[in-house]
Symmetry: C2
Subunit: 364 residues, 2 copies
Amino acid sequence: MNDEPPVKPGMIVGILGGGQLGRMLALAAAELGLSCHIYCPDQKSPAFAVAASRTIAPYDDQAALAAFAESVDIVTFEFENIPTETLRFLAERVTVLPGPASLEPTQDRLSEKQLIVDIGIPVPPFAPVAEQADIYSALARTGRPAVLKTRRFGYDGKGQAAIRAGDDPVGAWRAIGQAPAILEAHVPFAREVSVVLARARDGTTRAYDVVENVHKDGILATSTVPANLAPDLTKQAMDIGERIAAALGHVGVLAVELFVMERGADRLLVNEIAPRVHNSGHWTTDGCLCSQFEQHIRAIAGWPLGDTARHSDAVMTNLIGDDASRWQEIVGESGARLHLYGKAESRPGRKMGHVNRISPRSGP
Amino acid sequence: MNDEPPVKPGMIVGILGGGQLGRMLALAAAELGLSCHIYCPDQKSPAFAVAASRTIAPYDDQAALAAFAESVDIVTFEFENIPTETLRFLAERVTVLPGPASLEPTQDRLSEKQLIVDIGIPVPPFAPVAEQADIYSALARTGRPAVLKTRRFGYDGKGQAAIRAGDDPVGAWRAIGQAPAILEAHVPFAREVSVVLARARDGTTRAYDVVENVHKDGILATSTVPANLAPDLTKQAMDIGERIAAALGHVGVLAVELFVMERGADRLLVNEIAPRVHNSGHWTTDGCLCSQFEQHIRAIAGWPLGDTARHSDAVMTNLIGDDASRWQEIVGESGARLHLYGKAESRPGRKMGHVNRISPRSGP
């Protein structure tokens, strides 16, 4: 697949998913002279407003998928929960990048953990929970507090339940809908960081500066760059990102979330992989010459990767639910750039936009 | 008109003209959560691919214009040669910014020059040429070399003819189609610079750093920032920009092109005004937090103006005609960001894209 000719300006990029990530990918593709076709079941997809064409159809509509494949020069996606069959169906007809093989392991929290462990990268203690009875042996492995997570289709804290001292584990099992799950130890990390990197068709990689993240209620609240991280750990984090991207045979942008431990032999533990552009990379639009969105398009298009150098320090703050109603205040603020996703309806926990606050580049 | 309530995220910005400027305005509006409706007679307008809606109709189609006015919350334009009647027709139905009164003087090179002179800002010697016989008296005012330009509808060197020593002036008059014209002295300038600034609804202004421009064959080739210009002249250039914007009652982005003379009482002479986003402001997308496109949207929307501070030095190079075929080389270059306009057909002299090359900010 990597021998395919590169995508050329004027060609059409098909994007599965029409949320804010699809929208920002489409904006970046447009700057490069590419045209976008968004495929999304949701009629109100925010990406439609900035794309040349759209298909509104379910992900299992084979006629719609076949027509979509016919109308585009390459297919990519904005989120990892695209059904595998959809990707495989498309991949028979048109280049799909990242490829299904790179996506599948990350659709299942257990396979994802296994893949990371298999290449020798440490993760917090975990155990599979296939049925209710497994919870007790799993807890013996992880200790408390721990978090029970559905193996599939979780995001932004959905499909998760904490098991703290005194909690009835069965309550957590019921809360996540008794679906196949994984129990993860809640490790006492000092901070959370992430590496956003891209891997090109030829296997070269480029990482952005490591980002320090703060989550609230399971949703990313802020990302700060540069992260407060020692140089050796920074190097190690980037190395982990590269090894994971290579192990997946990934092409495109990939994010790896890591826990930084205060002490111990393994100071960095991988929390999660996202095989796509990632919320913790949103700062790159205003802090780097080549944003993660442009970088993803470059990678899948078969172009050389762009500059990941940080020209400015940045703090990205998500605007969640009613936060976006403060837009007027934000546009009056010096050094701040507002990004809104064009979503008509604000709901609690819904990502409506973000703001990047930049300042002159400090340190290395 | 300036008492209108501000445009809010989710509202629709109507843009007259669907070229690259309309396209980049639409991309900037989308980042702010605004939706765009492009009105353009040309079916192949590059802006259509990044806008939520489009109207393909001539500028004098009153039914189409009325429906357009009905469907948007505010109207702006990407170029100054929109027929006055079109703007007046729309302005009776919806807020149009910049207003027709700010646009009209700049549609006619003679009125433009008169306006500048009237507020005490120097311009190169000029004289009107209404009919063939006027050329000789005009040449007596300007000397040779001089440039004969049609009063209306000129851009990128079109509608212009030079009169050098030994040239037959009547040949120039024929070359520009014997239309009402203005003869301008070709002054021996040391360099060309421009000021791109925005004026908000409340009259506040913010200017970007002064840019140094190089033209080739009457078309902008490169813009470099910072310009090689003494601090007092920089201040004077910005002051000229502000006075012109105020004199026009302008709301939105405005560019003033200036000649810098090596010596003389008046070191800065105004060459031309563009009452819109301008090619010499394209560097701002990658050199500033708030691009000229976002700034224009902020100004017309009734929002506070954004940061014009330069975070990086920049050289913008236009990709004209076949230049764009070098895209592959450019995307492989470090520190360069490619912008392509999505135009299907390359023609000599046609602006196909541009590239911004940035480097760490130097000096003040």
